[in-house]
């Protein structure tokens, strides 16, 4: 993966390949601190902290690793940073109150959930223009994209639905009713399954994207813990589909699920109010944002163990990792 990226970059004369394999840059948005914490994935140390705009939440990185996109929700804009200089270069028209977004596999466009206006805004990241607005349910947040880029899924928190949007026509062609307060939508790498978390419902629905039906609902249980504390938010799946990780919010745990059986295998204790997660590109590590303990936890994916906690800014929300 890294080698082919290197080849592409060399072809364009970039110098980024000088990095040692395994050293990635991790970016964490701090919702309350209005900053972005930058970490090195070799040492797991904070290298710097930069201003992130007002209420930075969703964060993602371009496929070439050059641009960092941050939803500055209270600024009603997406801030774009140059990853080499860490300076903001421009903003993207995002629609009001952008929370989460997802990039098309080709790197363009960017699909943004506008929490206040009940729309998904589609933005061209090269031309910096709005291409389309798709009306969805109330309080859109979760954004998932199929690996072939043909379907974008948006979840609406109050309407309790996953809307399937055709990326060519911008039409909603399918809707699946899930449990209360869906927050996150994640396709498997082969596109055969879609996981949608329901924060208040306390479940993760496994959806067959072609049929538009729920094939299984995953519930969570931790002995001695009040069931209402198990609130699934972020979901991440390894590319081989074998391990599914679900952030359980105020349960302070990440559930580890066997991707073949969709059964919970164990719970990993991380920091407080864990919501979002991101893999390093080699999928060796999974980083979780713990909003109420102001830190991130590093999970070794192979051994399924939490190896470290690192203090970041105030109320960390989102996390993205450079592809190189």
């Amino acid at each position: 993966m890294i080698r082919s990226t290197c080849a592409a970059l060399i072809a364009f004369g970039a110098l980024a390949c000088a990095q040692t394999a395994g050293a990635y840059t991790v970016y964490v948005t701090n919702e309350k601190g209005n900053t972005i914490t930058v970490l090195d994935s070799e040492t797991w140390e904070v290298t710097t902290t930069i201003p992130g705009g007002q209420r930075p939440r969703g964060i993602t990185i371009s496929h070439d690793g050059k641009e960092l996109y941050v939803c500055a929700s209270d600024d009603d804009t997406v801030r774009v940073f140059d990853t080499a200089t860490l300076k903001q270069t421009h903003t993207l028209p995002s629609g009001p109150d952008p929370e989460l977004f997802i990039l098309h596999p080709s790197g363009n466009p960017l699909y943004i959930a506008n929490e206040d206006d009940n729309i998904v805004t589609v933005v061209d990241v090269e031309k910096h223009t709005m291409i389309a607005e798709v009306p969805v349910g109330v309080e859109p947040e979760g954004m998932g994209i199929s690996p072939d880029g043909k379907v974008v899924v948006n979840t609406s928190e109050t309407t309790n639905m996953a809307h399937f949007i055709n990326t060519e026509t911008y039409e909603i062609f399918q809707n699946v009713l899930v449990d209360q307060r869906p927050r996150f939508a994640q396709f498997t790498a082969d596109g055969s399954k879609l996981y949608v978390s329901a924060e208040i419902g306390g479940t993760v629905s496994v959806i067959d994207p072609a049929a538009g039906t729920i094939t299984k609902k995953i519930s969570f249980e931790v002995p001695g813990m009040a069931p209402e504390a198990l609130q699934p938010v972020g979901v991440r799946v390894t590319s081989d589909g074998k391990k599914v990780f679900v952030a359980l919010g105020p349960a302070n745990r990440v559930a580890v699920i066997d991707g073949d059986t969709d059964e919970v295998v164990e719970y990993l204790l991380v920091g407080q109010r864990v919501w979002q997660m991101a893999f390093t590109p080699d999928e060796k590590f999974l980083i979780t944002t713990n909003g109420n303990s102001n830190d991130v936890s590093i999970i070794d994916v192979e051994s399924v163990k939490v190896i470290k906690s690192v203090q970041v800014g105030e109320q960390p929300w989102g996390v993205a990792v450079s592809p190189n």
Binding site: E115, T129, I131, V134, T159, N160, T169, E171
Partner: protein
């Protein structure tokens, strides 16, 4: 610039097509289920509130309902239901006739913002033909021997809100209370609820005083000058207490207590630290989104009754989209069954207690301009649901449905 403008115009044309196609998209079921509900707000002549901040807006309650209906419709247009809500403001002697007329017109879900006796009269008049939802009356008897099979309560009971405050005061270790209550019947009921809550959670009421309502104007110019003299005298020479709990549902005196007590003590209950279902400063668990949508719709802050009516109609939206039925018996069974749950911007799901139809819910504790706490407090455990530490639990209930 021009190229960009063209792109934007093209984009909006595309978006317009997308919007139109999305809205005429065929529903999942062949027929659209028409769901016509009603909100009946029974207005009773009352004296003016002590604070002009509490003057009720004309659309109190109704805006909450309209927002819920719009929210329900965003789901309904995908799942095949069409939601409509009729708003009625009536006098108490018209309520029964209006409810019966609505039922005859196909309304099977009536949200009542009314006092207990009017609520019961309507419930008894409509019987099985509708689900009646109480969005206002907090009387404990409605959840006990005055309960009805066709009534569900979205409004919390006095027991729930007093328990919510008691839990926080015990968490603070402010165990010794001075209870000051008014002379109206509702004040006496609230005082009784505070006594029950104190006993339940181990607080001690060291002294009780009654503030008699002697009538007269509620607000006068420079009235604060007299209040500053009268309230300290009224509260002097009390046995040592940690907090003054005011039970003043009739809104006669409690607002005058904070900072005017003889002793430097916090005030809680009907003034100071207040238990409530909703507050415009509440932002936790996504509530900011609700506040923004409400304010955009109404040009004012949301009040507890607005939220309660919103919640009552969201209950309808949820039961109808899950059962695809508007039959009162089907709805009632689902609502009291194990599958019903609803997100209510309170951080946990709200569900109905099957023994008395009361909606389990967290209670906000608000102070000056921000949320102070939310009960139930984490330290209180319960084998079924921590929410059942508030109000009448199953073994205590005298409701027979």
């Amino acid at each position: 610039m021009r190229g960009t403008a063209k792109t934007i115009i093209c984009a909006f044309a595309l978006a317009a097509v997308a919007i139109m196609s999305a809205s005429v998209r065929p529903a999942l079921s062949a027929d659209i289920l028409a769901v016509k509900a009603a909100v009946i707000r029974v207005d009773v002549q009352k004296p003016l509130p002590i604070s002009r901040l509490d003057l009720p807006p004309d659309d109190l309650g109704f805006v909450g309902g309209q927002l819920a209906t719009a929210d329900n419709q965003t789901t309904g247009r995908f799942t095949g239901q069409a939601f409509e809500t009729i708003d009625l403001a009536v006098a108490s002697d018209q309520a029964v006739a209006e409810a019966q007329r609505l039922v005859a017109e196909g309304v099977h879900y009536i949200v009542m913002a009314a006092e207990a006796d009017t609520l019961l009269a309507v419930a008894d008049a409509v019987g099985d033909s509708a689900v009646v939802v109480n969005a206002q009356a907090m009387d404990d008897r409605l959840r006990n021997d005055g309960c009805r099979a066709n009534v569900l309560h979205v409004a919390p009971s006095r027991a729930m809100v007093t328990d919510a405050l008691a839990q926080f005061l015990m968490w603070k270790k402010w165990r010794e209370w001075a209870l000051v209550h008014g002379s109206h019947p509702e004040d006496l009921l609230l005082a009784e609820a505070y006594r029950r809550a104190a006993k339940k959670f181990g607080a001690k009421i060291v002294e009780e005083r009654v503030f008699e309502d002697t009538g007269g104007a509620r607000r006068t110019d420079s009235g604060h000058v007299l209040v500053q003299k009268q309230m300290p005298v009224f509260t002097q020479r009390m046995d040592d207490y940690d907090v003054l709990v005011a039970a003043d549902e009739a809104d006669v005196f409690a607002a005058y207590l904070p900072y005017q007590t003889w002793d430097p003590r916090p005030v809680a209950g009907s003034a100071g630290l207040r238990p409530t279902t909703f507050h415009p400063a509440h932002e936790a668990w996504g509530a900011t989104q609700f506040q923004r949508r409400f304010e955009k719709e109404s040009n004012r802050y949301a009040r507890p009754l607005d939220y309660q009516v919103w919640l009552a109609l969201r209950v309808l939206g949820e039961v109808v989209t899950r059962t695809n039925s508007y039959d009162p018996a089907v709805m009632r069974d689902y609502l009291l069954g194990p599958n019903f749950e609803l997100a209510a911007f309170k951080g946990v799901k709200v569900t109905f207690r099957p023994w008395n139809g009361q909606l389990r819910q967290p209670v906000l504790l608000v102070g000056d301009k921000v949320l102070v706490s939310v009960s139930p407090q984490k330290e209180y455990l319960h084998k079924v649901s921590r929410l059942d530490t508030l109000g009448f639990d199953e073994p205590e209930s005298t409701c027979v449905r």
